[in-house]
């Protein structure tokens, strides 16, 4: 259908213009990352003079040295891994069995339970009641609280339930013949058949956990519990107001901006490392999410 050789001159012109526009948008998407990386490797003086455009000026790794010796940075990095791995495992422990149960035709009150879960997508009590509830549950400033309280959401359950519902009964029957119970059917039939959907949900959970910031900022007070995103936020808002820092940077080759940029680079790197794997699944995942009910 699309064949360059059959294109008229007008079509070729159109295709070239579109390719250029796409190229411009792609460069515009990529540029801020390159710029931040360049700032992170520039000297504080060069950065403050506004000299950095594309490549590092007065190349230095001082900003990284400043970050990488801070114990708080490493603690928050470690915490982010704990929240991401713990939170994702917790999510799957709730979502997979829950979605399986909701997909069973023999479940009594199935319509009610589905509505019970879906309703939370449309109506949310909001920030304050959620916060006060966490207080009442004594889950403020608790790592376990963060992992548990954000484990489930209606969207992921419905997504997986729909996938389970689409699995033909014949797959299950063979296992039933061998006397398998529901746990075994889920483990041996449904989970292996649903790998793409489960991978998609795992991915959604990992990304949400890695990036999660607002509630971690609100609920966690102890410095040793905060994730990387909150550490980054503290750095962003404090560094420029911090007099002590302002004095040290006079003699140093870094500035608030280069340090910020260096932290940004450090926290993007893991995302970039898993991105190729992520990309394999998310296009599929989006489309799964699109065919609800």
């Amino acid at each position: 259908m699309m064949n360059w050789n059959l294109y008229s001159r007008g079509d070729k012109f159109f295709a070239i213009v579109v390719s250029i526009l796409i190229g411009m948008f792609t460069v515009a998407t990529l540029y801020p990352f390159i710029y931040i990386a360049a700032v992170s490797f520039s000297s504080g003086f060069a950065a403050q003079a506004g000299k950095v455009v594309l490549t590092p000026i007065d190349s230095t790794i001082e900003a990284y040295k400043y970050i990488l010796v801070q114990p708080d940075f490493w603690i928050s990095y470690r915490n982010t891994f704990i929240y991401t791995i713990g939170g994702t495992v917790m999510s799957l422990l709730f979502i997979i069995p829950g979605a399986y149960a909701l997909s069973r035709p023999q479940l009594f009150g199935r319509r009610f339970f589905n509505l019970f879960i879906a309703f939370t997508m449309w109506f949310n009590a909001g920030i304050i009641p959620f916060y006060l509830n966490m207080r009442d549950l004594s889950l403020l400033d608790s790592m376990f609280g963060i992992i548990l309280a954000f484990a489930v959401n209606a969207f992921n359950i419905i997504l997986l339930r729909n996938f389970f519902e689409a699995i033909p009964q014949s797959f299950e029957e063979a296992a039933r013949m061998d006397g398998a119970n529901d746990f075994q059917v889920l483990w041996k039939v449904f989970i292996p058949l649903s790998k793409p959907a489960i991978a998609t949900i795992t991915l959604f959970c990992i990304v949400a956990r890695w990036n999660g910031f607002f509630w971690a900022m609100v609920l966690l007070q102890s410095q040793e519990k905060i994730p990387l995103q909150v550490f980054l936020r503290h750095t962003l808002s404090n560094l420029s107001d911090d007099d002590e820092f302002a004095i040290t940077q006079l003699e140093a080759a870094y500035s608030a901006e280069t340090v910020t940029a260096a932290i940004i680079v450090c926290s993007i790197i893991p995302v970039l490392l898993v991105y190729p794997w992520i990309q394999k699944y998310f296009e599929k995942g989006i489309l799964l999410g699109g065919v609800k009910e």
């Binding site: 526009l21 069973r104 009641p129 006060l132 901006e257 993007i268």
Partner: protein, 307 residues
């Protein structure tokens, strides 16, 4: 033969199917504890709440908080700002992924297309804190690339993030930069579903690519566009307030403060829980009504509901 009673049937059913109930139970308990219990807590919007008395024991005050709310200039401003930012997002942010998908569809070179897609999807996966860090750095008066470039044209440095008139363009622009690429996936999938024979007969009729885009592709993906538009309208009250909290400052509250950031400041920063909960309840009810209307509309137009 003995006649089964209703109770016996239930016991028999549970004995046979107890496993699926055991699997469902943790999820149901989770929803009750973390999502439904806060809904019960919403009653503090009608109470003089104090942390020491707790939700149930605090005295009722009727609509007092709502009366204060609707005579509070900051709250009214926050409602308008929410609507204005959403409207800008709709006008500029909604067409962007559609245009992008239509353009991707015209690219013949597979590797070029794949590479560009890989790059433009990326910002979606970056956290709002990092996005804010990038924006703050790029728009900074001394370091920022934006002011550096303005300097080349002899324009004086502008401290963008302290200027109320610049907040919304920066915020909406950032949103497009972050989400337009990822948003195009849905439309690309819709385009992939268009019947190829339509294009084949168009080629026979001598149509060019531009005409095919307007006469075949766009009409074919119109249902998808409509559904996505309805979803957007349903979510008008949902502005990504995480990013606003990171980017705004007192100097820009005038244009930047939305309902959720107002709730955050009043409730979590100033401790006026009941008042802030009332503001949050207002937002939630408006959002709920909008989503319901949106779903009814989408049912009418597409026969499939959104959930």
């Amino acid at each position: 033969m003995e006649k089964e009673t209703r109770l016996q049937r239930i016991i028999f059913h549970l004995r046979r199917e107890w496993q699926i109930y055991a699997m469902l139970l943790p999820t149901i308990i989770w929803f009750i504890v973390f999502l439904y219990k806060p809904m019960y807590g919403l009653q503090i919007a009608f109470k003089d709440y104090s942390i020491f008395r707790g939700v149930a024991a605090s005295p009722w005050v009727g609509l007092e908080h709502f009366e204060h709310l609707f005579s509070n200039d900051q709250f009214i401003r926050a409602v308008w700002n929410t609507i204005k930012i959403s409207a800008l997002n709709l006008v500029f942010g909604f067409p962007a992924p559609i245009i992008l998908a239509l353009m991707f569809n015209e690219i013949l070179h597979a590797t070029y297309k794949k590479t560009a897609q890989t790059i433009v999807y990326l910002p979606h996966f970056i956290s709002s804190v990092i996005i804010a860090g990038i924006v703050i750095t790029a728009f900074s008066p001394s370091v920022g690339i934006v002011n550096t470039v303005l300097g080349w044209f002899g324009i004086d440095s502008i401290y963008f993030l302290t200027k109320p008139e610049w907040f919304r363009p920066i915020f909406v622009g950032t949103g497009i930069w972050q989400e337009a690429g990822f948003g195009s996936i849905v439309f690309l999938a819709a385009i992939a579903g268009v019947n190829p024979s339509l294009y084949e007969s168009a080629v026979v009729d001598g149509a060019n690519r531009w005409q095919m885009m307007w006469r075949i592709t766009i009409p074919s993906i119109l249902p998808t566009i409509l559904i996505m538009l309805i979803i957007r309208i349903g979510n008008i009250m949902e502005v990504s307030f995480e990013l606003i909290i990171l980017l705004y400052q007192p100097a820009t509250y005038e244009t930047a403060d939305v309902v959720n950031t107002f709730v955050y400041r009043q409730g979590l920063q100033s401790g006026r829980y009941d008042f802030a909960a009332a503001a949050g309840l207002f937002n939630a009810v408006v959002a709920f009504v909008l989503v319901m209307v949106a779903n009814t509309l989408s049912r009418r137009y597409s026969r499939t509901s959104l959930w």
